[in-house]
């Protein structure tokens, strides 16, 4: 049975991977340019994932795990303690992730067959339909490979492949300079995070001699990291922080968040797949996997503050956006911040819960926005939309459901997970009153989320059309585009996750399986942390009911306000805007000056002068002194030999052998730099041999 | 397999007949002479006759019919003619290389015969790396072609020689990879082992029948091998090095007399060699379907000497040579069927099709071998039906 599961897990990765290879090689010649191949492959993966999930469900216990490890490279025969093991690990987290990723990816592939139809054509004419699907396949394979890894090594490999795919897909419209720049920006920014991840992993391997999750958890509990320090901080802190920096880059947390909004230059299915449902989740997944290290090394407060701050300030930015995809991009940032915040306060399974629910509804939101954009002939500005409710009924319904989910309306999945996060944050603040700022971040963001998401709905679907030309042409999208929306929207009801209709605590339908995500995914055991975890659980339970009431109130206020401003237009948006202080407006318009800071300050003021200094040093010192100086020395030598010739030889041994010696000296010195490779080689050989022969003497 | 053994290249068959009393060196020389003179030379010569007959058949002519019955001795008279012809060397030719090059070709194509397993008891040198050895010696041919072409001081020759060398070097890659997948299946490079594994499956699960039917990839592989081997022997449709309508006679334009004879002979020897290797590694060597020739025992003996190896050997050699001659006939048949390729088409075929496909096949074969623990389709079928 276990072997079969492992085989299935491998098949999940291999199917899209082989689809990628086939697409790359012969994709153009296949019927329909091979989109069915990628879609079919990922659907096969979905079926496999479903089988694995069913197995997990039938077992239904927190410690269910199936893993198999192979030795990749074993150099212990040469007395080098280097043994690299790679393997597959299936536990509740990865089984759930696999199902989520394959489901989202399948639906997004299906959606892409409709959305990318304009790109259908021969590659010779510049159409890249096949490339698009092959990249999607490669990306999905990498994400799935990351999920089934049982060690940080293959996880890192898949991580980097995803970085590459992200680069390729963001810059898919490569004729657009903005897209090309955005792809480069995304790649370079995540690279900063990857450096941290890499350092963290190296440090971990140096101490533990293993990359496997199990070994890491066991190492933490057995005190392998207890007395180690790296550059003055404890090893666990260093490793945890390094790996968390990787997450910061990949999941676009403050201060490396700048790439995600720009990444919206890519095609919308890509935004849905990569920048909402899966790749950015990979960062969260990494935190989940390294969670014991963060807890043990004391990195969690940093995690919590970065998450909290990100979710707060991204929400503010989202309020001011008019590009429909940008709104969603910032909301993604904000929701990722929520997850990081949840993990930071120590709510392990809650963070994972929100990861899953968010991936589902955000994929749906992105695809719905894609459908809107497609119907509006690639118009993305919300100010030109409006009144689309009648034109796109299915899209509207799905988008409304998922918007309610993200805003935290009771009965939808976002309510359940977000409510738990808020509860945990509040409980955490009860335990540690000095961290009350986090509570403010969390609740303020909840209100703003409801506000800006309904702003999007009202501006897009309500009111009167602003652009009649586009409006008249708009029509409901074809089945392969609305079907994915419908499926994901159906999964945005919280009954799927918590087993109750309204949210938490009432009407348990699934019996023991109710709130299965929380039940199945307790944090890995860490020595000495049980008491604080228990305390948090208690505190969160204690504030459960107030939290729920507050969060419903807050979300309701946000929706109401949004309706007043953008739905019924009772309050003028322009007037409202004028109330904002000027400097805040300016800061938001400039995205808090982050890009400005990175480009003007970090790169231009810091790196460029540094490299200029380097160049100057190279020019002045190395070139002038070392290189040209050698010429001077040589010339001096020649001059000296000339003087010697004149004075000593010519003067002393006028007609004897005197004529030959300086000539030979001059020639041999000059020939040191005659540019002839054979001469150099000969000098090297002779010198080596002399050194060798007289090694006793020298 | 050591150098000492290699030099004394044991011929199992002769050793069996004469015992081991005589010094090994005599055996080795004897076996070399037997292989060369008694097999390769006459068969190579006979092939020229056969080729002319086949050609005549295809063109509805009679072909050679004067010398001997049915013109069977034609090749003999051809040989005499070649020996007696004036051995001319053009004035600007590079004499040293000119004299030396044909023997390189000769060494390449005839030396490899030592590793061909004609029967379970008759193999020139039962090397551990038999198939690899055959390919290594085969690589001398391209050198001989190139040098001979250059030394004759003739631009047609030079063009032909360049084409020949480029072609042989290129096609060595798909050929080698096709052979590599056979090695993957059998886990050995020893010719004897390679053939022995292709017996009809027995109850104990021994033998997986002819490699060409081992798995779907191997069928493709056989065709790749066959195509590449055609190009290696400069046979139509890959006879660009001696394309008579473009290059007079290509790399051997200037050669005459027995030197030309060596080239011509070794070309046929090459064809036979590749047919032999194809037979041995893909078509099961001496094995026939449904039973194992090695189990035949008529109980005949002369005194102490058991005659059954001899009888088996005769049968095996018959089966082996039958398969070889079928392949050789296909080669001749192709000559009168397919037109010659252009140079760019030739290279495209190799680099864009054969090499990628052969790599794909290699991976496929490796996966098959791993997944089914090396069992062939036939064995799997047998297991499924419960026969074995």
């Amino acid at each position: 049975m276990n072997d079969m599961l492992i085989t299935l897990a491998l098949a999940i990765v291999i199917l899209p991977l082989s689809a990628y290879f086939i697409q790359t090689i012969v994709g153009d010649r296949l019927p329909r340019q091979g989109d069915w191949l990628s879609t079919g492959a990922i659907f096969g993966s979905f079926l496999c994932a479903l089988r694995i999930f069913a197995e997990m469900w039938s077992q239904f216990r927190p410690d269910w795990v199936v893993q198999k490890t192979w030795v990749w490279m074993d150099l212990s025969t040469l007395n080098i303690p280097w043994k690299l093991e790679v393997g597959v690990r299936l536990d509740n987290i990865s089984a759930t992730m696999l199902l989520m990723v394959t489901l989202c990816a399948t639906l997004i592939h299906l959606f892409s067959t409709g959305y990318m139809r304009d790109h259908h054509g021969k590659p010779e004419d510049g159409y890249r339909y096949t490339s698009f699907f092959s990249y999607l396949s490669l990306f999905t394979a990498a994400m799935l490979g990351l999920v089934i890894s049982d060690n940080f090594f293959t996880l890192f490999m898949a991580w980097e492949v995803m970085g590459l795919c992200s680069y390729l897909l963001i810059g898919f419209y490569r004729h657009k300079p903005s897209a090309a720049n955005a792809s480069l920006k995304a790649f370079m920014t995540t690279r900063v995070g990857d450096l941290g991840l890499f350092l963290g992993l190296l440090a971990m391997f140096a101490i533990l001699k293993s990359f496997r999750f199990d070994d890491v958890y066991a190492g933490i509990n057995s005190g392998a990291f207890a007395n180690e320090t790296i550059i003055g901080v404890s090893a666990a802190f260093f490793i945890g922080l390094g790996i968390f920096i990787g997450t910061v880059g990949k999941s676009a947390q403050f201060p490396l968040q700048i790439w995600l909004p720009d990444a919206m230059e890519g095609p919308t299915p890509v935004s849905a797949l990569i920048h909402a449902a899966t790749m950015v989740s990979a960062g969260i997944y990494l935190i989940i996997r390294i969670f014991p290290m963060l807890e043990y090394g004391g990195v969690l407060p940093i995690v919590a503050y970065i998450g909290g701050f990100t979710c707060f300030f991204a929400a503010i930015l989202a309020i001011k956006q008019y590009d429909i995809k940008k709104v969603l991009a910032y909301s993604t940032l904000s929701q990722l911040g929520y997850m990081v915040l949840a993990l930071g306060v120590g709510a392990y399974s809650v963070g994972f819960f929100h990861l899953i629910t968010h991936a589902v509804f955000k994929a749906c939101l992105f695809m719905a926005s894609g459908a809107v954009i497609y119907a509006m002939h690639h118009e993305q500005d919300m100010r030109h939309m409006g009144g689309l409710k009648k034109k796109l009924p299915i899209t509207f319904t799905c988008m409304l459901i998922t918007t309610m989910a993200i805003s935290g309306v009771p009965g939808f999945s976002g309510f359940a997970s977000k409510d738990l996060i808020l509860g945990n944050v509040l409980g955490y603040a009860h335990l540690h009153p000095e961290h009350y700022l986090l509570v403010f971040f969390a609740f303020a963001t909840a209100a703003m989320t409801a506000f800006y998401m309904f702003r999007l709905i009202f501006m897009t679907f309500w009111g009167h059309p602003h652009d009649h030309h586009h409006y008249d042409e708009a029509h409901e999208v074809s089945w392969n585009m609305w079907l994915p929306l419908a499926v994901l929207a159906a999964l945005s009801f919280c009954v799927v996750y918590t087993g109750s209709i309204t949210g938490l605590g009432f009407d348990k339908i699934f019996g023991s399986a109710n709130e299965w995500i929380l039940k199945l995914n307790p944090a890995p055991h860490v020595e000495g942390m049980e008491s604080s975890r228990h305390a948090l659980e208690e505190a969160a339970h204690h504030v459960h009911t107030p939290t729920m009431i507050i969060s419903i109130l807050v979300a309701g206020c946000g929706i109401l306000f949004s309706y007043l401003v953008y739905g019924s237009k009772k309050i003028s948006a322009a007037k409202l805007e004028s109330l904002w202080p000027n400097f805040v407006k300016k800061a938001i318009d400039n995205l808090y000056y982050f890009d400005w800071f990175y480009i003007k300050v970090v790169i231009q003021k810091l790196f460029l002068p540094f490299s200029a200094q380097n160049a100057k040093f190279d020019d002045a010192v190395i070139d002038r002194v070392a290189v040209d100086g050698w010429k001077d020395v040589t010339m001096l030598g020649q001059k000296a030999s000339g003087i010697f010739d004149d004075m000593v030889v010519d003067g002393v041994m006028v007609d004897g052998v005197g004529g030959t010696l300086p000539t030979m000296l001059g020639t041999s010195l000059r020939s040191l730099q005659n540019g002839k490779v054979q001469r150099y080689l000969m000098v090297a050989v002779v010198a080596l041999m002399l050194l060798f022969l007289f090694r006793g003497v020298v | 397999m050591s150098l000492a053994e290699f030099l004394s290249g044991i011929n199992y068959f002769i050793a069996h007949l004469f015992g081991t009393g005589l010094p090994m060196a005599v055996f080795s020389i004897l076996s070399a002479v037997i292989v060369l003179l008694l097999f390769a030379m006459p068969v190579g010569g006979f092939c020229t006759y056969l080729e002319r007959k086949v050609a005549a058949d295809f063109q509805e002519r009679i072909g050679p019919n004067r010398v001997g019955p049915l013109g069977l001795l034609q090749f003999f008279s051809d040989g005499i003619k070649m020996f007696l012809k004036e051995d001319s060397i053009s004035k600007n030719a590079d004499r040293w290389i000119y004299n030396f090059a044909p023997s390189l070709v000769m060494a390449g194509s005839f030396g490899a015969f030592a590793a061909v397993p004609f029967s379970a008891y008759m193999i020139g040198a039962d090397l551990d790396i038999g198939i690899f050895y055959a390919m290594a010696l085969g690589s001398l041919v391209s050198l001989g072609v190139l040098l001979g072409a250059w030394s004759s001081d003739n631009k047609w020759s030079l063009i032909g020689g360049m084409r020949g060398a480029a072609q042989i070097v290129s096609y060595e890659i798909p050929l080698g990879i096709a052979v590599l997948s056979v090695i993957t299946i059998c886990g050995s490079m020893n010719m004897h082992t390679l053939v022995a594994q292709q017996a009809w499956p027995t109850a104990g699960g021994e033998g997986h029948f002819w490699n060409v039917f081992h798995n779907p990839f191997m069928i493709i592989n056989f065709f790749i091998y066959f195509t590449a081997a055609l190009a290696e022997c400069n046979r139509t449709p890959f006879d660009l090095p001696e394309a008579e309508s473009e290059l007079v006679s290509g790399f051997n334009t200037e050669f005459s007399g027995m030197r030309f004879g060596l080239y011509a002979l070794s070309e046929f020897a090459d064809v036979i060699l590749f047919a032999c290797i194809a037979t041995a590694i893909f078509l099961g060597g001496w094995h026939v379907p449904f039973f194992n020739l090695q189990s035949i025992n008529l109980g005949l003996s002369i005194g102490e000497l058991d005659l059954s190896p001899l009888i088996q050997s005769v049968l095996m050699i018959g089966v082996f040579l039958f398969k070889v001659s079928v392949l050789v006939f296909v080669v001749m048949w192709l000559r009168w069927t397919l037109p010659r390729l252009r140079v760019d088409q030739l290279m495209n075929l190799c680099w864009k099709y054969l090499i990628p496909i052969s790599f794909f096949n290699l991976i496929g074969v490796a996966i098959w071998t791993w997944a089914f623990s090396g069992r062939s389709m036939l064995q799997l079928l047998g297991q499924l039906l419960g026969v074995y």
Binding site: L693 | S2, F6, F132, S139, W150
Partner: protein, 175 residues
């Protein structure tokens, strides 16, 4: 004085003489051809030392591959019909001295050393053992060798005619 001794002595003589011609023959083509002699002699010595796989590999890669490529390069680049291009005895003076220095020094070290602990070559098949070594202790090195494939790709790019490369980059720039 066994057969193997005669064979080894023959290989020494052949290899040495061929190496001499490779170094000193005025005609580069003859030098290349006499290189065959050295390579074949080394292959024979591999055989005599019981390295059968290496002997065959030496033949197939050096003689069948590298030498052909060398001959191609000679024929395509030099004016080979100019039969003699005498390189001048003068140019040989210092190299020969340097080589003599190397030879003398290393030969002295070789002959001074104590080689009394010696084993006989065993003529076991080596291919299987080498295969295991490549996936055993040398796995890492073997994987790095695969990286050398990059070298081949680089060679292809270098050998491409310059004009075509220019065109290629121009095309890219337009996008």
């Amino acid at each position: 004085m066994t057969l193997a001794d005669i064979f080894v002595a023959f290989c020494f003589l052949l290899g040495g003489a061929a190496a001499f011609f490779t170094a000193f023959h005025p005609n580069i083509l003859y030098a290349a051809i006499s290189l065959i002699g050295s390579l074949v002699a080394v292959a024979g010595l591999y055989g005599a030392l019981g390295a059968d796989f290496l002997a065959a590999a030496q033949l197939i890669i050096y003689v069948g591959g590298i030498l052909i490529v060398i001959l191609f390069a000679v024929m395509m680049s030099e004016d080979i019909y100019k039969r003699r291009f005498f390189e001048g005895a003068k140019k040989y003076i210092f190299p020969v001295l340097a080589a003599a220095l190397v030879f003398g020094g290393l030969a002295k070290v070789t002959l001074d050393a104590d080689w009394s602990v010696a084993t006989k070559p065993d003529f076991e098949p080596t291919a299987r053992a080498m295969g295991w070594a490549l996936v055993g202790p040398y796995a890492l090195v073997f994987q790095y060798v695969v990286v050398l494939l990059a070298g081949l790709i680089g060679a292809v790019i270098i050998a491409r005619p310059a004009t075509k490369m220019q065109k290629f980059t121009d095309d890219e720039g337009d996008n």
